[in-house]
Amino acid sequence: MPIHDQGYRRYSGGKAPRGYGWAVITRAGIRTLVAKRAFLGLLLLAWFPFFVRAVQIYAAANLPQAAFLAPTPSTFRDFLGQQDIFAFFITVYVGAGLIANDRRANALQIYLSKPLTRAEYVFGKLAILMTFLLLVTWVPAILLLIVQIAFAGNFTFFQNNAYLFPAITVFTFLDVTMVATAMLALSSLSKSSRYVGILYAAVIFFTQAVYGVLFAVTRSTSFSWVSFPANLTQVGDVIFRLPLKYSTPWPVSLLMILGLIAVSGLVLERRVRGVEVVA
């Protein structure tokens, strides 16, 4: 096709206001993942426990013989605990390649040459992972609460346990933030998403295995701070006002979680950079 005019033409499209660049990355990332059938299958599988719990709540509300299945605050805590394994697989599926694939394709320079700051880039990527993680943790847990009200036909349980809504929200956001920032930091360390996935599995399962050895040797749960899943469990029990599972003081567990988030932020700050021009 011949080029008739090589003149300059001003951009006539709309301009996104500054500070919203991350939303473009997030939208594109979510759209890409939702188009994958395997991923949709994984999401559907992650919602299976929700349906089981919904049936449990229905039976408890409507069948006198099943009254022993009546939900308690710990039902919601247990439900979130069950979702951990699905959250792990979704984290690896979604998160491993988030930055690693961009680094592999040298796309980071292209991203950062646009009117997009590093913070917006990181936040956009983080939002992709957090969206899907909240979709299998916070959303079903809140829906369970609504299902309970709907099946019981009254607000008694909700009013008696008014702290449940904020507890679910605070715990899931802490959990998801820790997991997402750790995975994103690992993703920025390598160009291979497979390598990142294994590194993440190592962080989660190896710390758990080391705690297992320390517990088996000492028969004391005071070393639970070495395991990140155990730290989340401990803080989760505090938030849900349940008896603590480990003898580690919960502020120590919380400090470990916040420490991991801070270290991940530091890694991201150092690794997500455009081309360094050396004079």
Binding site: A38, L42, A201, A202, F205, F206
Partner: protein, 281 residues
């Protein structure tokens, strides 16, 4: 008149696999991946050093249910919790799924497939290299842990040594079995890592809790029967595992693991022969 050029016979699968093995072993041993492997295997050694230092500083030693823990039983726990349940499956997933996938990612598979060797020899050679590489790195780690931990609490190294040899053999067999399973996953599926992790950390631990035949569809069922140490009770899941534990005989386990290695490697070889690998542009 010029003489016709003599036709060179295509090397056999074994000879070709050995050439690929030769090439891959060097690459595997001196790669960044081995650094990760070193870090992973350094963890148990560091933990063993820490436990040894604590046992020296506190002469009362470690106590389990009020009784002083013997070093041999602590070593057994470490074999169970760190090596069998974590390191061996993770190394299998990590290396097994990458045997062919790495060459595809790096777009170097073409160079191997255009050589006059059977395609499956590439997989077999790489599998052998994986096995030698991981065994060479895992076994020293286990031995260091053994010599650091066993003397704690007055256990005798001499008495426990035969069990160390059994552990080393069991870990080598485990690496072979997991590696072969994940090599098959890596050659057949587009996203092998997720499937590998689901198998190692989702399917296997879950199915071992169910009574019945399902557990026979795991590697762990056969591998755990070869472990001579007592299963630790570090969690409610471990206690359940012990309740539902059905231990096959050593012979059954060895045959089961040999079948797993043989069948999965054969299927992986077939997949490499038949599959068209599309390289990203």
């Amino acid at each position: 008149m010029t003489e016709p050029a003599t036709r060179r016979a295509t090397p056999s699968v074994f000879v070709s696999a050995m050439r690929i093995f030769d090439l891959s072993l060097g690459q595997m041993l001196w790669s960044r991946r081995s650094v990760f492997l070193g870090l992973l295997l350094g963890g148990p050694v560091l933990l063993a050093i820490a436990l040894r230092v604590v046992s020296v500083l506190y002469t009362s030693g470690f106590r389990i249910n009020g009784a002083q823990a013997a070093g041999a039983s602590v070593f057994g726990m470490m074999i169970w919790l760190l090596y069998i349940r974590f390191i061996v499956p993770v190394l299998g997933v990590f290396y097994g799924t990458a045997l062919i996938a790495d060459e595809v990612d790096d777009k170097t598979i073409t160079y191997l497939f255009t050589r006059p060797i059977p395609r499956r020899a590439v997989l077999f050679g790489k599998f052998l290299a994986y096995l030698v590489c991981t065994v060479l790195l895992v076994l020293p780690s286990v031995m260091l842990v053994f010599f650091l931990i066993v003397p704690i609490g007055g256990s005798s190294i001499g008495e426990a040594f035969p069990s160390l040899l059994a552990d080393l053999a069991m870990l080598a067999i485990g690496l072979a079995a997991y590696g072969a399973v994940f090599a098959l996953v890596g050659t057949r599926l587009k996203r092998p890592l997720i499937v590998g992790l689901v198998f190692a950390f989702g399917w296997e631990p879950a199915v071992l809790l169910f009574p019945g035949y399902l557990k026979r569809l795991t590697v762990a069922y056969y591998l755990q029967a070869l472990v001579r140490h007592e299963m630790p009770q570090d969690s409610a899941v471990s206690m359940l595992l012990q309740v539902f534990r059905e231990v096959p005989s050593v012979l059954t386990s060895l045959v089961g693991l040999a079948v797993i290695v043989g069948v999965t490697l054969w299927l992986a070889g077939r997949a490499v022969e038949q599959r068209e690998f599309v390289l990203d542009q």
